[in-house]
């Protein structure tokens, strides 16, 4: 995979967090791979997870198997981006 494509996935996930959870661009600019998500972001409750996953599918043109979704994938921003990269770029 090219790093350009990998950067696009990072940007797409930031876009999803902004559009679905309403997290400001200023806050998102401070997100790094180790920024905790599920359990740490009040906006990300279990109902919001459903919209988040479906939006990632629409933007990246991928299908996410719900049985692959676990706490680890949503533990940090880096884990979520890594999961999306694996899905989109293989």
């Amino acid at each position: 995979m090219g790093s350009g494509e990998a950067d696009e996935i990072d940007a797409a996930i930031r876009g999803v967090l902004h559009d679905i959870l309403g997290i400001s661009h200023e806050r998102l600019a401070g997100f790094t791979d180790s920024t905790p998500l599920f359990g740490a972001l009040p906006e990300l409750d279990s109902m919001a997870v459903a919209g988040l996953l479906t939006e990632i599918e629409d933007r990246l043109g991928v299908i996410i198997d719900d049985d692959e979704v676990d706490g680890e994938m949503l533990e940090s921003f880096g884990n979520l981006v890594a999961f999306a990269r694996e899905k989109a770029l293989g």
Binding site: D19, V49, T54, D58
Partner: protein, 239 residues
């Protein structure tokens, strides 16, 4: 910017009456078909503002409540899919709709109405909408410590009333929703958000309000949707 008021009308359906919101007093009638279930609540503001923008351009916009939702007195779990296609057709007939504008799942109903043109925003197939419902239910179950798989939740939804996000949906409805697909009846125009990877006739910048966890409005999106609908109807009229 004038704020056109909404008037309340109704259509008769299966012996009862369902509500119609109407904006714009005169002109060709545009039937709005809303997204389904929770997505309808999240996009109501967007739809009403789009109707206002088209009302200012001389259209009469009508938005029916689907039976079993919003102000309807009919229990949702007593309904089958054909009740919704029938309700959409009844609302179109009583209002004299010439054009259909649908959002998300509403696009699954526009094939059932007799109109001259169809315009769709981010149309979704029934199988994708069912996956969303299963996903919402899975998220809620996991919060309660449940460990069912997506396949198990879907199998339950297909065999017994499915409770999800405050709704209770009959298995027959779920089976038909899963099989429901959009029709290709021309003239047809499909719009999607510029972030959506799927093909469309036009991509519009904006946020997927139907997935926002907190309801939001996007005035730029409603204005660009209304402008494209008006252009499309004029293009079709000029043949």
């Amino acid at each position: 910017m004038s704020d056109l008021p909404a008037a309340w009308r109704s259509y008769e359906w299966r012996g009862g009456r369902e509500r119609i919101a109407e904006i714009g007093a005169n002109g060709p009638v545009i039937l709005f078909l809303a997204p389904f279930f929770e997505e309808a609540n999240r996009t109501r503001h967007l739809l009403i503002e789009t109707m206002r923008a088209l009302g200012r351009q001389g259209y009469r916009c009508v938005l029916p409540d689907m039976p079993g939702t919003l102000e309807s007195l009919t229990p949702l779990d007593s309904l089958d899919w054909h009740d919704w296609t029938g309700a959409a057709a009844a609302a179109a007939a009583v209002t004299g709709a010439a054009h259909a504008v649908s959002f998300r799942g509403g696009a699954l109903l526009d094939g059932a109405v007799d109109v001259e043109t169809r315009w769709r925003m981010a149309p979704a197939e029934g199988s994708a909408l069912l996956r969303d419902l299963v996903r919402i239910r899975l998220a809620a179950d996991r919060e309660d410590g449940g460990a069912a798989t997506a396949a198990e939740v879907e199998a339950q939804a297909l065999s017994a009333p499915f409770e999800v996000a405050g709704y209770r949906i009959a298995p027959g409805f779920i089976r038909a929703l899963k099989a429901a697909t959009t029709t290709d009846s021309a003239p047809l125009r499909v719009a999607r958000l510029s972030t959506d990877a799927q093909p469309a006739d036009i991509k519009l910048p904006g946020q997927p309000l139907w997935r926002r966890s907190e309801p939001e409005h996007d005035p730029v999106l409603s204005e660009s949707i209304a402008a494209d609908i008006a252009d499309w109807i004029k293009t079709c009229a000029n043949g």
